[in-house]
């Protein structure tokens, strides 16, 4: 049904999909059995699979090009919301599907449709009737929006320039440039995604809703298990509740536990993208989550950050081949010569303003992390940070740059 409706174009298809998925939720609430759940989840996931993975389906089985499929905006995120709603109904966490208006709001909420956070239906419907203006929340929300703008317009967009330059010339740049590119991509993806989450949460607070924590100083994690409790928290908790635990979680034999971890992170990798590089990224994370519980060395925050940073490379690369080239070039002939350092710095702008650009970018990175640490430690410096962020956005915010990274998933 959803597939057929995809033919009609994104907007109409989406609204029809909401109605149909709501009907299915209602039916599931009256028939809580595995078959009904399987059917509902299959129909919910089918549009996502067909739009994202259609090119990989053998044409002997199916001819996706004949259906003129279009990728609907936010499909990766709202599919997870629908599936979690079905699973919660089946598990009895909610008695019945919410009313259509509440359900439609939950699936399509404009602040979260593109890049999350992935809220649970109970958390949302529990607030939707009572949410009202709260000056304290509004003030927090306004600050979060400002913080998100600094992260995206200043830090992420400035770092993106360097990262794009590196990825365009992997084969010819010195290794030091590639290391800086890897570091700045780690900065970029964090600033971009947490910036979006901040803006999204800020708007929710302005509306009177509670915010959904999505990041908690992830680059200070001690081990990969800890990393996934701090990075994209709404996704990792979704995977834990709806993939990992149903598979058996850690309450099984060691081998089965390991397999469950790999399977969960394979799903995570494939959710992010269709290439082998995303699967590789997911599987490596699964392996390192398992290793973190065995090896103390991996729980060192510096080692954790280094490994996370290195694993962002296939995530950013256009494919596994490019990622392997990147790794090879990074580790072959790494030099700290004057020429290599000069090349690394000049790459910021390609001219003699490179040092200035680097200074502004790293000042932005420092400001971002100082704020995140202050928030994490519960230290309140609203005056200083509001003024600093306002000045940074106005003077150094870069317009006309790339879209949010996670909006493409």
């Amino acid at each position: 049904m959803s597939v057929f409706l995809l033919l009609r174009g994104g907007g109409v298809a989406f609204f029809a999909d909401i109605f149909l998925s709501w009907l299915l939720a209602k039916l599931l609430a009256r028939n809580r059995n595995r078959i009904a759940l399987t059917v509902c989840i299959t129909l919910a996931v089918l549009p996502l699979v067909l739009t994202k993975y259609a090119p990989f389906i053998p044409s002997t089985l199916f001819a996706p090009e004949s259906l003129a499929l279009v990728a609907m905006a936010g499909i990766s995120f709202y599919t997870l919301r629908i599936v979690s709603c079905y699973a919660d109904i089946y598990a009895g966490k909610i008695d019945d599907a919410p009313g259509f208006a509440d359900y439609a709001l939950y699936v399509s909420l404009f602040t979260q449709i593109l890049s999350g956070p992935i809220m649970r239906v109970k958390d949302f419907t529990g607030q939707v009737d009572s949410a009202g203006f709260d000056s304290g929340r509004a003030s927090q929300g306004a600050f979060l929006i400002l913080s998100g703008l600094v992260k995206k317009l200043v830090v992420a967009n400035m770092a993106a320039s360097y990262v794009d330059s590196v990825h365009a010339r992997i084969s010819t740049l010195p290794a030091l440039c590639l290391w800086m590119g890897a570091f700045l991509y780690a900065v970029q993806i964090y600033a971009d995604f947490s910036g979006y989450s901040d803006i999204s949460n800020g708007v929710m607070l302005l509306l009177g809703f509670r915010s959904t924590e999505n990041f908690s100083t992830p680059y200070f994690a001690q081990g990969f298990g800890d990393f996934w409790r701090r990075w994209h928290i709404s996704l990792s908790s979704w995977l834990r509740d709806y993939v990992y635990i149903p598979l058996g979680g850690s309450r099984c034999s060691g081998v089965r536990h390991f397999v469950n971890l790999l399977a969960t992170f394979a799903v995570s990798g494939l959710w992010h993208g269709t290439g082998g590089n995303f699967l590789f990224w997911g599987l490596c994370h699964g392996l390192l989550v398992w290793l973190s519980s065995k090896l103390k060395l991996i729980r060192n925050p510096a080692i954790t950050f280094l490994l996370v940073m290195l694993l962002w490379i296939p995530f950013r690369a256009s494919g596994m081949s490019q990622a392997l080239t990147y790794y090879a070039r990074m580790f072959a002939g790494l030099s700290l010569s004057t020429s290599a350092i000069t090349s690394m710095i000049v790459l910021f702008t390609g001219d003699n303003t490179c040092v200035l650009y680097a200074c502004v970018l790293f000042a932005g990175i420092l400001a971002m992390f100082l704020h995140d640490m202050a928030a994490f430690m519960g230290k309140d410096c609203p005056f200083a940070f509001t003024m600093l962020f306002t000045v940074m956005v106005i003077l150094f915010g870069r317009m006309g740059e790339s879209a949010f990274i996670y909006a493409r998933f």
Partner: protein, 314 residues
């Protein structure tokens, strides 16, 4: 953490003051390190003024030039921007005897681009506003992004970190162009062959750029300036396909009867012999003289200046 309205207002005020001060005084800073539009204007009169893009910066070396000369260059500077700069400088009293304008048909084939942050940094406030007005004439331009890019955002890093920038860049400029400290090496044939092509996608000049070229010639007529449209040498690969010569023909046709002269390489002229067009001979197949297809190396620039001096002597 909560939002502080007072801090936000204070932040906006600080930013507004900073941006205002920057837009008024940034040109003075550039003048201190012997570069830019305002430095040229402060001279009051210049015998030989060169205005162009990075091709002029790398092709025209002035540290051996005994005459009173100055170079204004910005990356990708096109005729539209050049006409704005020249109109402003002439109308604000700069006297120029000989003006040399960068002649590069490929740039004149593109839609005008005015968002160079260093041009905006070097420009006095009046010129900044002219550039903004010109940018807004583009039907696709939007007011807020244009104002943001050109007036609010442009050059803030240079202004705020000027002490650092002037130490790094200060000694590298002489009369607006390169000082002796800079060396751009030539390439090997293989290196040039591996470079991405720099051919224009279009085979005809952009209408707005054509109007600007004509306007430059008119301005020089109004202010009694001898104007020469000067093409720096290009590597032989630029002439493959014939587009470059075709556009050169169109460009030279615009200048016919305008009172402006043109000086082009023999390779580019390709038989386009016209009144007012002088042709010079320069090796366009020696890779050591080129940094890439369109920029000369330091050796190439020295050789080119010799050729130009020889032409003046004739």
């Amino acid at each position: 953490m909560k939002f502080s309205v007072k801090a936000f207002v204070l932040g906006v005020i600080i930013s507004a003051v900073f941006v205002s001060v920057k837009n008024v005084y940034s040109c003075d800073l550039s003048a201190q390190i012997d570069k830019g539009i305002y430095r040229a204007m402060k001279k009051g009169s210049i015998e030989n003024l060169y205005i162009g893009s990075s091709m002029f910066r790398k092709g025209i070396t002035l540290y051996d030039d005994p005459s009173d000369s100055f170079l204004i260059y910005y990356n990708g500077l096109d005729p539209v921007a050049e006409s704005l700069i020249l109109e402003y400088m002439f109308s604000n009293g700069l006297k120029v005897k000989n003006l040399y304008v960068d002649l590069f048909p490929s740039t004149a084939a593109k839609v005008s681009w005015l968002y160079d942050k260093r041009m905006m940094f070097d420009a006095p406030l009046g010129l900044k506003l002219s550039v903004l007005c010109q940018a807004l004439r583009n039907p696709e331009a939007e007011v807020i992004p244009a104002v943001w890019e050109l007036l609010i955002h442009s050059g803030n890093d240079m202004f705020i970190l000027w002490p650092l920038y002037s130490r790094l860049a200060g000694g590298r400029y002489y009369r607006g162009g390169y000082s002796r400290d800079t060396y751009n090496r030539g390439r090997t044939r293989g290196e040039l062959a591996a470079m991405p092509g720099q051919q224009s996608e279009s085979a005809s000049l952009n209408p707005e750029q054509k109007r600007a070229i004509t306007r430059i010639a008119e301005l020089c007529g109004e202010y009694g300036v001898n104007v020469v449209f000067l093409e720096t040498p290009k590597y032989s690969a630029m002439f493959e396909g014939g587009k470059y010569r075709e556009m050169m023909g169109e460009y030279l046709g615009l200048l016919e009867g305008s009172g402006a002269e043109a000086v082009v390489s023999e390779a580019a002229a390709g038989g386009n012999v016209r009144l007012g067009v002088s042709v010079y001979d320069f090796p366009n197949d020696d890779p050591a003289l080129y940094e890439d297809y369109i920029h000369l190396s330091t050796e190439g620039s020295r050789k080119f200046m010799e050729v130009l001096r020889g032409m003046e002597g004739e």
